[in-house]
């Protein structure tokens, strides 16, 4: 080793050395042990998280829970939409729709019969009369005997109508009767 190398090393030692002071080293070991303890706690938490089932993580935070709920809603809505598109007849499950479907199917034939049997009826009223919406007495609101004798069973829904519907039915029946007799007189 050359003397100039010794000199260079001495210069390097002076330049690259730094004394942080006695206070720095006094609590250095405690800082290291604190850091080790913190690392151990973090590692234990990671291990605990790895042990728990993945779905528990989804339920642990409100945000994850909301996301899961949103996905579930979308999935259910998509399932319903798919089912309705694939089986359209099933969509008519409600009582009203089920009651209307046969009436709509019978409408053209009944109209033809009405035109044939009562030539005096204006064409404007023939379809409505055939559908029975504003039909005369004994047609639109058939009387039923027994416990429901006092009531009126609507043709459209099959449900039992109250007093208000009965009054409307009577008014319409009266008006229709007047129109029919006017046509007959003419």
């Amino acid at each position: 080793m050359k003397p100039e190398d010794d000199e260079l090393d001495a210069d390097l030692k002076r330049v690259l050395s730094h004394d942080p002071g006695e206070g720095y080293f006094r609590d250095f070991a405690s800082r290291v042990t604190d850091r080790i303890a913190a690392d151990a706690r973090a590692e234990a938490a990671r291990a605990e998280a790895a042990r728990t089932p993945w779905w528990r993580g989804l339920l642990s935070s409100p945000r994850a829970l909301a996301a899961v709920g949103g996905v579930a809603v979308v999935a259910v809505a998509a399932g319903i939409a798919f089912n309705v598109m694939r089986h359209p007849a099933d969509a008519l499950r409600t009582a009203g729709l089920r009651g209307r479907a046969p009436a709509e199917a019978e409408a053209p034939a009944a109209g033809a019969v009405a035109r044939e049997t009562s030539p005096g009826t204006p064409a404007l009223f023939a379809g409505r009369a055939a559908r029975g919406r504003d039909a005369g007495p004994g047609v639109g609101c058939p009387r039923r005997r027994g416990a429901h004798d006092h009531g009126c069973w609507t043709r459209r829904t099959g449900a039992h109508a109250g007093g208000a519907r009965r009054r409307v039915g009577r008014r319409r029946a009266g008006a229709e009767r007047a129109r029919t007799s006017a046509c007959a007189n003419a």
């Binding site: 090393d9 390097l12 690259l16 042990t33």
Partner: protein
């Protein structure tokens, strides 16, 4: 021929072997004793490699945290310090790679040299030495991390060739040749900074 540089004894004693054994069985107090023994040496190497007090503090603490994590794999009867020195050197290399740049020129040595100012100092000599130190630092910063490490271990930490070989995981012959190349490169950089020929 210059003899081996003066250095502290790093051969494992009975006491140290007992501490390592206790630490391996999970005794945190025994490990704290090991930290107390080697904290200055580890900080010295960390500072020489980073030339930054904050980085050196981080590096020194991280060295002991890693040592605690790997103490179970440490071979009993082996000297502890080369192992710690190797950890701190590898961590410094990782730091350099992570930052993709060389360490910055620090402020602390300049402050240290300012504190050394005395009434008997010649202002001209002091100014010349400060200027020389700044150039030496700049020249050292221009070296590759491997050359910086080998010079720091040799010049600052006074490690022998064998200890450097253990620390860096290279043969002793490679240590000698690399040290020679590092010195030559440093002189070349120093010549470039001073305008002199090396």
């Amino acid at each position: 021929m210059n003899p081996e540089p003066q250095r502290i004894s790093r051969a494992p004693s009975e006491d140290e072997t007992g501490l390592v054994r206790a630490a391996q069985s999970g005794d945190a107090k025994a490990f704290a004793e090991i930290v107390l023994r080697y904290q200055r040496a580890v900080y010295r190497v960390a500072y020489a490699l980073t030339r930054n007090a904050t980085d050196a503090d981080d590096l020194a603490q991280e060295t002991f945290v890693r040592a605690w994590g790997a103490i179970g794999r440490f071979e009993l009867g082996q000297p502890m310090y080369p192992w710690l020195s190797r950890i701190v050197t590898n961590l410094a290399f990782s730091l350099f790679r992570g930052r993709k740049r060389r360490p910055e020129t620090p402020l602390e040595p300049l402050l240290e040299s300012g504190r050394q100012w005395g009434i008997h100092d010649d202002p001209a000599d002091h100014a010349a030495r400060s200027e020389h130190d700044a150039k030496l630092q700049a020249a050292f910063a221009g070296l590759s991390p491997e050359h910086q490490a080998i010079l720091a271990l040799r010049a600052v930490d006074d490690q022998s060739y064998e200890e450097i070989a253990q620390t860096l995981g290279i043969p002793v012959g490679t240590v000698m040749s690399r040290l020679s190349r590092a010195r030559a490169e440093l002189k070349k950089h120093l010549g470039g900074h001073t305008g002199e020929t090396p």
